[in-house]
């Protein structure tokens, strides 16, 4: 058996590369990240007509081999470094029939690297409707390659492509252009400096905006060549692009013709409406509104079902397994831990279903175009809009949704500011504190409590945008990219692609973030269920002996014991230990414990206080009554008064009280540095604001 043929799929963004990849590989594919960065790496196996197999690598979309971002750099390096395992035997360059001229720039660059290349012209089924006629024979002759017309949507041309892949050795590798013609003196000097190297490879190394490191040693020297990044290089790059366009124009004018009178083009009309400077925003707002209504409404039934199922399972475990700590761990730690992960699955699946539908239909590009101008003022990109809006449901899928943002700096800023957006986990915290400290009155016809809640949402969004603006000034970008957004044709989304996206994102959340959340739940349960003092181990005797507890019912006694134990558990000890730090904010040790436990997830705050306040139930009214009447021993005033309440609201609005968000940021950035910075900055800021609010209001 010979070695497997290595095929790289290369192309501009939105040319249907991934659809083609799915068609070629079917279910024989793996999705991961390129090591060290979060650019998705998709690879799979394709069975060829002759019985052989080809390894298919779906490279990130790029407009040219002039890399200015990490993902484009990755494409360039994979084509330059012959020794590396991903270096292709064959490049399949996917082009969109509607933007053929621009797509051919990339194709001619690859041909000039002398890598065998096939040109696949996708969306060929649209040619008739667009009034496009194509002389394939002429194109093949002028480009000195094989051209395959296909439609990934209609699954046509795929067999022909597989046949061409199999016969790749017959493809000529002659280049399209000779770069030395751009400037004979310069290229002669360059070739002299590195006589062993191919001139175009050398030129690509020398002319990149980014430093290539993972390339052949000799090329590495070329990449560090003293003449890199000089104005002359930029001038030559421009000359090269012009020369390529001239070369392409020479034959494309004959080979590719568009007769607009034959086109039945509703796309232009739709584009005008969807990207209208006022109407466009209104339509987008309505679509988002519908999307989030649907996410909440559709998710509520499966979420309730999951919640109840895990509650029943916990109860069953408690009732049917032998009494003991492991049973408690299962019933109160592991099962709620797993439930806490699984409960988010419907929201995540629906969110990515909608995102995928928006992308597949072509509408996402219009949103990006529409929002880019607005967001760019704050250091964000148009593509930041979807993650920021997704953040109102949960920061975890929102951070995952930033994968669409190619620019490293914009993506990083979006990841860093998204947790400021009010997520659904903050809601129970807000609701209970607002109910405690904001009077249930109307203000100019509006409910004051409702206005406060809306104010917190606005505050979260405002803070996200403001911090993006600040981060934009601080973070240095290593790669400067110009914003280019493809306006692909509107399409009916392909069910297979949508399904792959939903499955892959959901699986990634459950398996990666889920494991972390589960592990933290176990540790938290252990810390809350164990202690070292007699107060912890003899809690029942101590509580029963207290005179004020003699009138309690058996159930009230059990919850009082649980509360006493919790106070003296490791978590309780931590709560008391941090009390001096949080006292200036108006909090006592009980709130301290809730702050610590709610680090696993913000909504745990309510559950923790419910236990501490010994109500034996998490009914909000009961907690409110107890919390409302609680007195701060130090001040003699109500613990949950207006200053403390506002301080807590502001703390939760700004603090990064979510371990799973940290975990997902770590996963998405492949570094502890960013989640650490995020934690320190957000929580530090939250502390200062909460401190200021409490001190001013008292």
């Amino acid at each position: 058996m010979g070695k497997q043929l290595k095929v790289s799929l290369i192309g501009n963004p939105n040319t249907g590369k991934t659809s083609l990849f799915n068609l070629l590989t079917g279910l024989n594919q793996q999705v991961g990240n390129y090591p060290g960065i979060t650019v998705e790496k998709k690879e799979g196996t394709c069975r060829l007509p002759g019985g052989g197999k080809a390894h298919i690598l779906d490279l990130p979309g790029t407009y040219s081999l002039n890399a200015s971002s990490a993902d484009e750099q990755l494409v360039v390096e994979s084509l330059l470094r012959k020794e590396q395992p991903d270096f292709p035997d064959l490049a399949v360059v996917v082009a969109d029939v509607e933007n053929l001229k621009r797509n051919l720039i990339l194709f001619t660059q690859i041909k000039d690297l002398k890598i065998p290349a096939i040109l696949v012209i996708n969306m060929a089924d649209q040619m008739e409707r667009r009034g496009i006629s194509l002389d394939v024979e002429l194109l093949e002759k002028k480009l000195n390659t094989r051209v395959v017309l296909m439609s990934a949507r209609k699954k046509t041309g795929i067999d022909e492509l597989k046949k061409q892949i199999e016969d790749y050795q017959q493809l000529p590798v002659s280049p399209c252009l000779s770069v030395s013609e751009l400037d004979a003196t310069y290229f002669e000097r360059l070739q002299k400096a590195f006589p062993e190297e191919d001139l175009y490879r050398l030129w690509l190394c020398v002319s990149q905006d980014v430093a290539l490191k993972k390339i052949d040693e000799s090329l590495l020297k070329a990449n560090e060549y003293s003449e890199r990044n000089t104005p002359e290089i930029k001038r030559l790059q421009q000359k090269e692009t012009i020369a390529r366009y001239l070369y392409i124009n020479r034959f494309l004018n004959n080979a590719y013709q568009v007769d607009r009178t034959k086109a039945t083009d509703w796309r232009s009309v739709l584009d005008r409406i969807l990207t209208h400077r006022i109407g466009g925003y209104a339509i987008f707002f309505l679509i988002m509104l519908l999307m989030f209504q649907a996410i909440y409404n559709w998710s509520s039934i499966p979420m309730d079902f999951i919640d109840q199922s895990f509650a029943h399972l916990s109860e069953w475990t408690n009732n049917h397994l032998p009494e003991g700590p492991f049973t408690s761990l299962l019933a109160e730690g592991i099962l709620p831990g797993i439930g806490g992960v699984v409960i988010f699955v419907p929201q995540i699946a629906f969110l990515f279903l909608f995102i995928s539908l928006l992308e597949e239909s072509g509408y996402m590009s219009r949103i990006v175009f529409l929002m880019d101008r607005l967001m760019r003022r704050f250091g964000l990109s148009g593509k930041s809009v979807v993650p920021l809006i997704s953040g109102t449901a949960c920061a975890i899928p929102a951070v995952m949704a930033t994968r669409n943002i190619e620019n490293w700096k914009e993506r990083m800023i979006t990841i860093l500011v998204t947790p400021f957006i009010t997520c659904s986990a903050r809601l129970p915290v807000y609701l209970i504190i607002i109910a405690l400290v904001i009077p249930d009155q109307t203000f100019v016809g509006f409910n004051l409590q409702g206005l406060t809640l809306m104010g917190l949402y606005v505050l979260g969004f405002g803070m996200a945008v403001l911090s993006a603006f600040v981060l934009d000034k601080i973070i240095k970008n290593k790669a400067h990219t110009t914003f280019v957004v493809e306006m692909p044709a509107y399409k009916v989304p392909m069910a297979k692609n949508v399904l792959y996206t939903v499955l892959e994102k959901t699986k990634s959340f459950v398996l990666v973030a889920g494991k972390i959340i589960l592990a933290i739940s176990i540790v938290l349960w252990f810390l809350a269920s164990n202690g070292y003092s007699d107060d912890f181990y003899q809690a029942e005797e101590i509580v029963r002996a207290q005179p004020e507890n003699t009138m309690l019912s058996e159930q009230e006694m059990q919850t009082a014991v649980a509360s006493y134990q919790l106070q003296h558990s490791y978590i309780g000890i931590i709560g008391h230990a941090i009390e001096p730090v949080i006292r200036p904010l108006g909090y006592d040790w009980k709130i301290g414990i809730a702050l610590v436990t709610s680090f696993a997830a913000r909504e745990v705050f309510v559950g923790t206080l419910a236990t501490i306040y010994s109500v034996g139930s998490e009914e909000e009214e009961t907690i409110k009554e107890r919390m409302s009447s609680d007195v701060n021993i130090r001040t003699g005033k109500k613990l949950f008064d207006f200053p403390t309440g506002i301080s807590l609201l502001l703390f939760y609005a700004f603090a990064l009280q979510c371990m799973s968000t940290l975990a997902i940021v770590k996963k998405e950035t492949n570094s502890w540095k960013w989640p650490f910075i995020q934690l320190v900055l957000m929580s530090g800021f939250a502390y200062l604001v909460a401190l200021g609010a409490y001190q001013v209001l008292t």
Binding site: Y34, I37, F326, I334, L518
Partner: protein, 44 residues
């Protein structure tokens, strides 16, 4: 039964702590040759 339950609890907690430590504090040793995009590649 008590002692077995305790052992299981400690095993679960140890596994959870080990997982978190391994996940966040220990860098995995790469067996394969590192390609573009690794931490030291300078592209991010």
């Amino acid at each position: 039964m008590w002692s077995l339950q305790h052992i299981l609890v400690y095993l679960a907690v140890a596994a959870a702590v080990a997982y978190l430590v391994k996940k966040y504090f220990l860098k995995p040793k790469s067996k394969k040759e590192r390609t573009c995009g690794m931490d030291d590649c300078g592209c991010h």
